[in-house]
Symmetry: C2
Subunit: 350 residues, 2 copies
C-alpha cells in the first residue's frame, strides 16, 4: 500500500457517480491509485500514515501483518515467478517494520482452463521461496472462476511476523539529518517484467531482483537499533514513489545524489528504449532506509556484509524543508524535483 | 478450505500434463476441487487435517489465522454483499477454532471499469461488517487489472484471532457418542445467490444467512468448554460436505436425523425447482458442532440463548464405524448415505 492522507478520503464523488476504475496508466494512473487508496482507507477509518505492514496487538504480543495480491503478467519471468514474488514481497513488507516473518497465508483465484502443471509449478515455487525464507505456509484457499473471469491465476499472500526488538521503523519516523541508504541496484524488476511481456530482447540480460530482505533488515537493526528510523522497499512506483511517500509521511525533504544511484547498464539501456525513468521502475529486492547520521556508517557496513546489501551505499540526506519534497542533484550540479509517477505507471508489474 | 488427506497430493499428473483447471461443476467438480487442495497442500508440506483456520505460535501466544478469497456473483444479493460476506466468512473461520477475531487484512483485485460508486459501497459494507464484529481492518492492498482480466471485483480477507481459552475445537476431535448440534436453518445462502443470479423470483422470499458467529461460539465454549470437540460452518459443499469432512478427519461415522433438519419452506421450494439437495447448498450463518453427550444440553441451551442460535437443535449422533461415513435417517425410518457434492457444485457461491 502507499502512504496517503486519509482525510482526502472525504472528497465527494463527482456528480452522477459515473467514475470508473481505470488501469494505472495514462495521466489518471497515480491519481486514480490515490483515489482508491483514499476511499478504502477513509471508509475503513484508518488514521496516520499507511505502512507496508500493520502492527496488531494480540494479548501480550504485538505482531506485524501485511497483505498483497499479486497479478503480475507474465507469471514466469527472468529471476522469478508470481509464486516466489508473492512470498518475497510479503516477507519484505513484514520485514520493513522491523519484524521477523513467521507465517504466510495463501489464497488463489484460478481461471478455469489454467494448466494444472502450471499451478503445480507455481505452488512449488511458493513452497521453495517460503522454505528459503524460513517461514511456514499455514493456511490457504482456492477459488475457481469461469474462463474469462480472471487472467490465469491471482495470488494473495498475507504475512505475519513478530517484532525483532523494541525498534519499529515507520514511514513517519524520518528526521532531518538522516542519511538515505539504498541496499542495491534499482530498476531490474520492472524492466525484466516489461521485457519479458513485450519480448524486447533484454530478457537474457536483465533478471528481476526479487529476493527476501529480512536477514538484511535484521543485520541493520542489530547495527543501528532505533537509529534506523525508516525502511521501505521501493516496489510499485519505484524509488521515486517510495521516497515521496516517506518524505510526505515524515514531513521532511529528501535530496538524493543522482550519480550515486546504482542503475545497471542493461537497465539503463532498457529504460532509454522504453522512455522510463529508472527512479520510477519497480524493484523487488532492495530497500531504502533513513538512518540517523551517528549510526549511518555502522548500518552501511552491516548492509555490505549481507549478500542482499553488497552494493549498499549512501544516496542522499534528509532535511527539514520543503516538507514532502524530493529532489535529485544531477551530474552537472543542478537540482531537479523527483515526482511520483503520474503518466507512466506500469500495470500488473507485481 | 476443505479437509483433504494430504497424502493424496502425491498422485501423479496424468501423462502429458495436459490437465486443466475446470469450473467446479459437472462430474469433475468435487474431484477437481480435491485435486487442487491436494496439490496445494502436498507441495506446501501441510500435515494433519486442514481446518477452517490455522494455529500459529508467535512468541508466547498462539494466534489463529484464516484466509479466503471471495468471488461471489452477483456481488449484491438479498441479505448481504461480497464485502459483508467476506468479513463474516473470515470471522467465522477464525471463530471455529475457538478464537476471538481481532484483526482483518483486506486485498482487492479490481477490474478496470468497475464503477467507483460500487467500490465505495462494498468498502463501506466491509467497514460496517467489521465494526459490527468488533474487529479492525488493519491493512490492505489494491491491484487493478485490465478490462476482461477479472469480473468486477475480487476480495481476499485474512483474519487473525486470539484463543478464547484452552479449548481449541478441531475437525479431527470428534468422538463416538458426541451429539451433532446445528445452530440454525440451512440452505438460505446458496439459494439466495442462485435466485439473485438467475432471477428465479425467490429473491423476495429468501435472504442469505450471512452473519458472524463468534459470539455464539464464545457462548458455546463458556457452556461446554473442552466438551465442544468440533466446530464447522458448512459453507461451500453445504452441511453434507462439512459432515463428511469432519467424519473423515475424526475417523468416525455420523448419523443425522433428516426430519430434524431445519429447511425453510422457501428454500425447500427453491431446491425442488433447481434440483438441489438442501444438504449440499452453501450456508454462511450457521455452524455444526460435535459435543460430548454430558455437555450437549448445556451447550444447546447456550446456543438457543444467542440470537444466532435461536433455532439450534440436535440433528444426530457420532458413532465409531463405519469411519468417514455420513448417513441420514429418513422420515420413513430408512437410512441413506449422505455424500459430498460430486455433480452439482455451484460455482462462485462465495
Amino acid at each position: 500500500m502507499t502512504t496517503i492522507d486519509p482525510l482526502r478520503a472525504t472528497c465527494p464523488t463527482p456528480a452522477g457517480g459515473s467514475e470508473r476504475v481505470l488501469l494505472g496508466h495514462g495521466s489518471g494512473g497515480q491519481l486514480m491509485a490515490e483515489l482508491l487508496d483514499d476511499l478504502v482507507t477513509g471508509s475503513l477509518g484508518a488514521t496516520g500514515p499507511l505502512e507496508d505492514a500493520a502492527l496488531v496487538g494480540l494479548g501480550d504480543v504485538e505482531v506485524v501483518v501485511s497483505t498483497d495480491s499479486f497479478v503480475v503478467t507474465p507469471r514466469f519471468f527472468p529471476g522469478g515467478d508470481i509464486g516466489s514474488l508473492a512470498v518475497h514481497g510479503t516477507v519484505n513488507d513484514v520485514a520493513m517494520r522491523g519484524a521477523r516473518p513467521v507465517a504466510l497465508a495463501l489464497a488463489y483465484v484460478l481461471e478455469e482452463g489454467l494448466p494444472i502443471a502450471e499451478l503445480r509449478e507455481i505452488t512449488a515455487s511458493v513452497a521453495a521461496a517460503a522454505a528459503g525464507c524460513g517461514i511456514r505456509v499455514v493456511t490457504g484457499d482456492t477459488k475457481v472462476v469461469q474462463r474469462g473471469a480472471a487472467d490465469g491465476l491471482y495470488l494473495t499472500t498475507t504475512g505475519i511476523g513478530i517484532r525483532l526488538g523494541e525498534t519499529c521503523p515507520s514511514a513517519a519516523a524520518g528526521r532531518p539529518g538522516d542519511r538515505v541508504l539504498l541496499s542495491g541496484p534499482i530498476g531490474s524488476h520492472g524492466t525484466a517484467i516489461l521485457s519479458a511481456r513485450e519480448g524486447l530482447g533484454f530478457e537474457t540480460a536483465i533478471s528481476s531482483d526479487s529476493r527476501p530482505l529480512h536477514h538484511l533488515v535484521s543485520a541493520m537493526l542489530d547495527a543501528g537499533g532505533g537509529d534506523v528510523h525508516t525502511l521501505r522497499d521501493p516496489t510499485r512506483g519505484g524509488l521515486a514513489g517510495a521516497l515521496n511517500e516517506l518524505a510526505a509521511a515524515s514531513g521532511v525533504a529528501v535530496e538524493i545524489d543522482e550519480p550515486a544511484l546504482p542503475v545497471p547498464a542493461q537497465v539503463h539501456a532498457a529504460c532509454e528504449l522504453l522512455g522510463l525513468d529508472p527512479l520510477h521502475v519497480a524493484n523487488e529486492g532492495c530497500l531504502v532506509a533513513f538512518v540517523a547520521p551517528r549510526s549511518a556508517d555502522a548500518v552501511l557496513a552491516a548492509m555490505r556484509a549481507d549478500p542482499a546489501g553488497r552494493d549498499a551505499r549512501v544516496i542522499g540526506t534528509v532535511s527539514a524543508a520543503p516538507r514532502g519534497r524530493v529532489t535529485a542533484r544531477t551530474l552537472v550540479g543542478s537540482s531537479r524535483i523527483v515526482d511520483m509517477l503520474v503518466g507512466e505507471q506500469l500495470p500488473r508489474i507485481c
